[in-house]
């Protein structure tokens, strides 16, 4: 968690350093112009808002993961076999993310048909992903790994569940974008929401890959190093 915060702090510090914090405002009058004027953030508000939201959501996942490692250090932890289905769903999510990138590119080119197609396909694959996760849950439950059986089971359901909820939230935003696109003739007006969705999907994919690495035990070494640093 602290490492994550450190990254955010670095970004914030870099940005603040551009803002002339050492300026003596009482000596300056008028409207600052020219090279000495502090640079504004040039992105549009919605993108900045999404960026901030991703930081918050990122903090959420990082906290969940630190909880995972702290809990894992306790003696009653029994590792969990991962259903192979998860690797299939990983592929599906990756495809979904790619399709949205495609949609963004088509929207930039102004190709309406293509954009719609890619969006639909992207949404469909995302739904398949969530369904796949549900199926994995069923497999686990049938395999006798109930949610309260062992903390490793609980964490499996919790991490995948929170991630799936984020996917569903993304789908809602995508549906809204799609509706907006259908009612307006101007593709340009929806270019930005599509871009935002694509960005969000990248985030979902990255988070999922990290979660997968942790759940399969691939990231154990890393967790151990972090644990050793802490204690």
């Amino acid at each position: 968690m602290l490492a994550f915060l450190a990254v955010l702090a670095t970004i914030a510090a870099w940005w603040l350093s551009q803002q002339g914090l050492a300026a003596k405002p009482w000596l300056e009058e008028g409207v600052p112009v020219g090279p000495r004027a502090p640079r504004r953030i040039s992105t549009e508000p919605a993108k900045l808002g999404l960026g901030l939201f991703l930081a918050v959501a990122g903090a959420l996942f990082v906290l969940l993961i630190s909880g995972y490692f702290m809990r894992k250090g306790l003696p009653d932890w029994r590792p969990l076999p991962m259903p192979p289905l998860l690797f299939v769903t990983t592929g599906v999510l990756a495809a979904s993310s790619l399709l949205l990138r495609l949609a963004r590119r088509s929207a930039e080119r102004g190709a309406r048909e293509e954009t719609q197609l890619a969006l639909t396909a992207g949404a469909a694959t995302a739904i398949v992903f969530v369904a796949g996760q549900m199926a994995a849950w069923r497999q686990m439950l049938e395999g006798g790994f109930g949610i309260a059986g062992n903390p490793s089971n609980t964490f499996f359901y919790l991490l995948t569940g929170v991630h799936a909820l984020h996917v569903l939230g993304g789908l809602a935003a995508l549906a809204w974008t799609f509706a907006k696109m259908r009612e307006s003739d101007d593709l340009a007006s929806t270019r930005s929401p599509i871009g935002l969705c694509a960005l969000y999907w990248d985030f979902l994919l990255v988070v999922w890959l990290v979660l997968l690495a942790i759940l399969t035990g691939f990231a154990d070494g890393l967790g151990e190093i972090c644990g050793r640093l802490l204690s």
């Binding site: 968690m1 602290l2 915060l5 955010l8 702090a9 914030a12 603040l16 803002q19 002339g20 914090l21 050492a22 300026a23 003596k24 405002p25 009482w26 000596l27 300056e28 009058e29 008028g30 409207v31 600052p32 112009v33 020219g34 000495r36 004027a37 502090p38 504004r40 953030i41 508000p45 919605a46 900045l48 808002g49 901030l52 939201f53 930081a55 918050v56 903090a59 959420l60 906290l63 969940l64 909880g67 702290m70 809990r71 306790l74 003696p75 009653d76 932890w77 949610i147 309260a148 903390p151 609980t154 919790l158 929170v162 204690s231």
Partner: protein, 593 residues
């Protein structure tokens, strides 16, 4: 010393380069006043809801005090009710009142006006934020009526006790409490993203960061902390909900209760404490930083003097914000965590005292050689300094790991945090309401009632909490339904408890004067005009008072100077508004300085 040539003066500038927010247009009474997307209306909705639920917390505090002063007297008080009152009081005051009123209330009202924006950048999300907050409050209220009543787990909700039999409200109350917190966090995140993006993107032409009033700095920084800290509480709440509802074992070790082995195994209660305080300590600054910012502006305006050391104030806010994330475990010195952590967290905690102290010095030095108008807002600001210094200094006791050992979990702690994050910020809330009420309504609050309210509140609160420290020093633990017979508590402590309770009741009743004043002045208050305090910052320069929808009429204001041009030598008046273009006279001042 002064680099005059680098100053960039330009008088003929286009009015605004900030793209206008796409304003929604209210179509009916319902969309104007109820489902409003205007930040100012949302601010009022937030504040009214927070103050209303705050009254519940006030009543809860009376119950607590009555029990402590007169044990075995009231038939309606039993241990369960007492602990429920303690929990409800703490939770509402910290989260649903202070956090909501500072960020949701003042943040919504002041940010757009002070930075010269028309509204928040995402008005619709802003509206949702309020309605989700309201839902959170309603869920909390629902828990009062749930079977078993609200949770009595203490506001820290420490597991395992929070979700086990033996704690009041362990069946339904705790579930509703956690659900309400989760809702609150979701709602807050929506609002918080708005405040941050608005400050980053919505500033009008000429409003650099270093020209923003400290109020905006305080709220902005507090929001950033909150966005990063609340997820920790969120995670903690979700995990505890799973432990309670599905029998998982995040925080629950093997437990035997009343001779029965429970189904839990292997969890770690300390894990929850880490998560809770990773949120909980920044939470203190979420409340404190906006208060710091506002009090700076109150002092500067009413002392007719620029805030002393503006740069230092900004740096202090930022460094406090950063440090607030590495001090959380000072709440856990005696929690049985790894003892060596104590060295680290004691050091960071005491380091945070330095920027905080610098802020105090700068407030006091702003008074030095000022032209102090002892208006009601100013009185509250001064009272804030006294109580905050007192509470901050006792924080040095508790932050210094080994001193904390005898004092932790005693009334000393209770007295400390009430002084520093109860009394002090609430005095700022009052001061701020007296200060900005004229802008919100166009009328002044009644001065006589204001004075009465101030004196009772300030002296009363001090009389309640200052002596309480000494009970803690004596060793009286907190969260005790009754201390009963002990060998170390003298009978005189009982007298002190009765004194505290009587004062607390008087202070509580004095708040009714304030509430009455709020409504009375709405109709009968003196008309204030647009800028009754002759202040410089933008919110006082709106074309209409109260500001209309969109705040600024046709053209956004352009900012030519910082927010603290009071008593500038050579200037005609003792204040120059931020949007007043430079004149030869003003230019001469800066050059000669």
């Amino acid at each position: 010393m002064v680099d005059v040539t680098a100053r960039t003066i330009e008088t003929a500038v286009p009015p605004a380069e900030v793209p206008d927010v796409e304003l929604y247009h209210p179509k009916s009474w319902l969309t104007t006043w109820v489902f409003s997307q205007d930040a100012k209306i949302i601010a009022i909705q937030y504040s009214m809801t927070a103050l209303t639920i705050g009254l519940v917390a006030l009543v809860a505090s009376w119950l607590i005090r009555l029990q402590l002063a007169f044990p075995n007297t009231f038939s309606f008080m039993d241990a369960a009710t007492y602990y429920q009152a303690v929990t409800v009081h703490g939770m509402i005051m910290v989260i649903y009142l202070l956090t909501a009123v500072f960020l949701g209330g003042f943040g919504n009202y002041l940010i757009p006006l002070m930075i010269g924006a028309r509204d928040m950048v995402f008005p619709y999300v802003n509206m949702l934020s309020y309605w989700i907050y309201l839902a959170a409050v309603l869920v909390l209220v629902a828990s009062f009526f749930a079977p078993g009543g609200p949770t009595g787990a203490g506001w820290t909700l420490y597991p395992p006790q929070a979700i086990l039999e033996g704690t009041p409200g362990y069946s339904a109350g705790i579930i509703l409490m956690l659900a309400s917190l989760i809702l609150f966090i979701i709602g807050f995140t929506m609002g918080g993203l708005n405040y941050v993006v608005t400050v980053l993107q919505g500033r009008t032409r000429g409003m650099t960061l270093m020209r923003m009033p400290l109020t905006v700095w305080g709220i902005f920084t507090a929001t950033v902390i909150a966005l990063l800290a609340f997820p920790a509480l969120f995670v903690g709440a979700v995990m505890m909900l799973l432990d309670r509802a599905l029998g998982t074992s995040f925080f629950m070790p093997a437990i035997i209760q009343a001779g029965e082995h429970l189904k839990y195994n292997g969890g770690s209660p300390i894990l929850f404490q880490h998560l809770f305080w990773f949120f909980g300590h920044p939470e203190v600054y979420i409340v404190a930083l906006p208060a710091f910012g506002m009090v700076s502006d109150l002092i500067s305006t009413h002392a007719r003097k620029n805030i002393f050391g503006y740069r230092m104030m900004v740096w202090a806010i930022i460094s406090i914000a950063v440090l607030s994330f590495v001090v959380w475990a000072h709440h856990m010195y005696v929690s049985g965590m790894y003892p060596a952590f104590g060295f680290f967290f004691a050091t960071t905690t005491l380091i945070i005292a330095v920027p905080t102290a610098l802020k105090v010095y700068n407030w006091v030095l702003t008074l030095w050689r000022g032209d102090i108008h002892l208006t009601v807002p100013m009185l509250f600001a001064i009272a804030f300094i006294v109580t905050f210094v007192n509470g901050g200094l006792t924080g040095l006791f508790l932050g210094n790991v080994v001193v904390d050992v005898p004092l932790s979990d005693t009334m000393f702690v209770v007295a400390h945090f009430h002084m520093v994050m109860g009394v002090a910020p609430i005095l700022v809330v009052f001061g701020a309401i007296y200060h900005w009420y004229p802008k919100i309504t166009g009328r002044m609050l009644n001065e006589v009632m204001g004075q009465v309210h101030f004196w009772i509140t300030f002296l009363g609160a001090y009389a309640i909490f200052f002596p309480m420290h000494y009970l803690g020093l004596l060793g009286v633990p907190r969260r005790y339904f009754e201390i009963g017979q002990t060998s170390f508590v003298p009978p005189s402590a009982e007298t002190l408890n009765i004194f505290i309770t009587v004062v607390a009741l008087v202070v509580g009743i004095a708040q009714l004067v304030f509430v009455f004043n709020l409504f009375w002045s709405l109709k009968k208050g003196r008309e204030s005009g647009p800028n009754p305090w002759r202040a410089t910052s933008l919110e006082w320069q709106t074309p209409e008072t109260p500001p209309g929808h969109g705040n600024w009429g046709k053209e956004l204001p352009v900012v030519y100077r910082w927010a603290y041009d009071y008593s500038v030598p050579g200037a005609e008046q003792d204040f120059i508004p931020q949007n007043e273009p430079p004149s030869a006279l003003n230019g001469a001042r800066a050059a000669g300085h």
